[in-house]
Subunit: 324 residues, 2 copies
């Protein structure tokens, strides 16, 4: 089970491999949020999302024999690219099972990073079965997107950086908002902050109709989303919290914040205007929470993670045309 | 006259005030450039451009008496915002003379940062005369955008960071491409690299029809652009190199690279796709040079500065619709 020791070990393995993303801010966003807002742009991470951290952590922790045989992963796109690049930089092969409705740019990039891409239909096929079938004879190691202790430890390195960078700005007490799919990033950050910034409160952020974590935290058991697609937030519409991540979120997280697709698009446009960064819809869920749900937060500081920036040009134009 | 000692002193005054922007890269951009490409995103700097560095450097170097009276500046937008924020954070007033055809977002932001904005017509009025007239009775200190030794020293801090960050990546020999208007950023970086990375070659980058620096470096005397506007690169269509900056560029710079407006728009779109950052047209001139004029460069590494990111949404959409 992932703990702070594993996160610190992952940070050692990742050092010089993943980017230390900065902590950005803008007086214009502070005004909308009604408090000081800090943003951790993991969209600037290698492959455009935090997923590279977990992928590097997991692959670098494999035994040399396992690593040599290669890895397999299933992902709507960001985990795919993270695993593809981490595998390529380890000199090993990667097979990635992707839903056929994933954004074109994510599928193309995963291929271009050297991975073998296998597409499946998200509505009619089960991705675990597709992966198992494809991997029958190759004995590749499955790198799960969140229910893997080493992946979780890798995502947690984001939290170590947040604690250190916030302390440098004199911030020790804050709401920390994290876009949440399966909960790997959220629970990793929560574990890191429990150790290094224990006064911070971590809120998972989810899109409407895909609020499985919000409902699970309320009911005390793992809830599943009825729909499988139908949100612009493709990166975080995971069906339910993970078996590893849910108990951690239950123990460590404050209530979830549920945002609309339109709020995510507005947050993308404001991040364009004010921070000059590109965030994808799902990656903007936490910023949307901070900007448009300020009554659900407390305190003078809010720290948001922009978890990814892999968005097609047409979708970004839709965001730019979303008022205000 | 600005020298490396003044740049190091500016770096001390700026420490903790300006952002240390990271050095980004993407295997996809390397492939287009035909060499390893590194990008310094000053679009992520406070106020969205490197100009905050020079403004902070100049204002922090004023005597307390001069500073108290306030400052005045003329600028198409980026220097304006840099001076406005640096003045506000010093608790002093700022008057900014801006051309009426500057991008709306730059005019609005300058006002919102607390400055008093005065508009003038770039085609029919002389900005120096407007500024002098406006300042007759107030005795504000004029902060020139590039012909000011302290401003130049502030811009040079970008070069100190490039040298240190490149060395950390094992890079000591590279072409360094810098978007060039009056030459403050270019000559500041050239001075810093002369001291800290002397094997690097600094190339000013300019848009077609506004290639005053390219022509001045060739002819050996200050040349002036015939046109005053007519390029999307509003940030860098300065009429001629500065009196302070030209001798420095003459002594320290490699030949300039001249790029088309369309190449700048393509570079913006590729930075969106591959680095998830927002660059304005003029700020993308160096990236355009590295991507589309690789035959004018040598060596295995190219470092480009993305000098600013203050672009209106409609112009950014035009860039996204520029193939490829």
């Amino acid at each position: 089970m992932t703990d702070i020791t594993m996160i610190r070990a992952a940070a050692e393995r990742i050092k010089g491999k993943a980017r230390v993303t900065p902590l950005l801010s803008s007086p214009f966003l502070d005004e909308i949020a009604g408090r000081k807002l800090w943003l951790k742009p993991e969209c600037l991470q290698h492959t455009g999302s935090f997923k590279f951290r977990g992928a590097w952590s997991a692959i670098s922790a494999l035994s040399p024999e396992d690593r040599k045989r290669g890895v397999i992963a299933f992902s709507s796109g960001n985990h795919a690219q993270g695993v593809a690049l981490a595998a390529a930089r380890h000199g090993i092969s990667a097979v990635i099972i992707m839903p056929s409705d994933a954004p074109t740019i994510k599928i193309e990039n995963t291929r271009a990073l050297g991975a073998e891409v296998v597409l499946f239909d998200r509505a009619t096929e089960d991705r675990d079965e597709v992966a198992a079938k494809y991997n029958k004879d190759r004995n590749l190691t499955l790198i799960k997107p969140f229910d893997n202790p080493y992946v979780l430890a890798g995502q947690g390195t984001t939290g170590l950086e947040i604690a250190a960078q916030a302390a440098k700005e004199g911030v020790t007490d804050a709401d920390v908002l994290v876009p949440c799919g399966g909960g790997g990033l959220t629970s990793g950050i929560a574990l890191a902050l429990e150790a290094d910034a224990s006064a911070m409160r971590v809120h998972p952020c989810e899109p409407e109709n895909f609020d499985d974590v919000a409902r699970s935290l309320k009911s005390g058991k793992i809830e599943v989303n009825p729909a499988k697609n139908g949100s612009v937030c493709d990166a975080i519409i995971t069906p339910s919290p993970g078996k590893l991540t849910f108990p951690l979120m239950q123990r460590l997280c404050a209530p979830a914040v549920v945002v609309s697709d339109n709020e995510c698009l507005q947050a993308m446009a404001l991040a364009f205007d004010r921070l000059r960064i590109v965030i994808e819809p799902g990656g903007a869920a936490a910023l949307a929470g901070a900007l448009f749900h300020s009554d659900e937060l407390q305190g003078e500081h809010v720290i948001v993670v922009a978890s990814g920036g892999n968005v097609d040009r047409p979708m970004f134009e839709i965001a730019l045309e979303t008022t205000p």
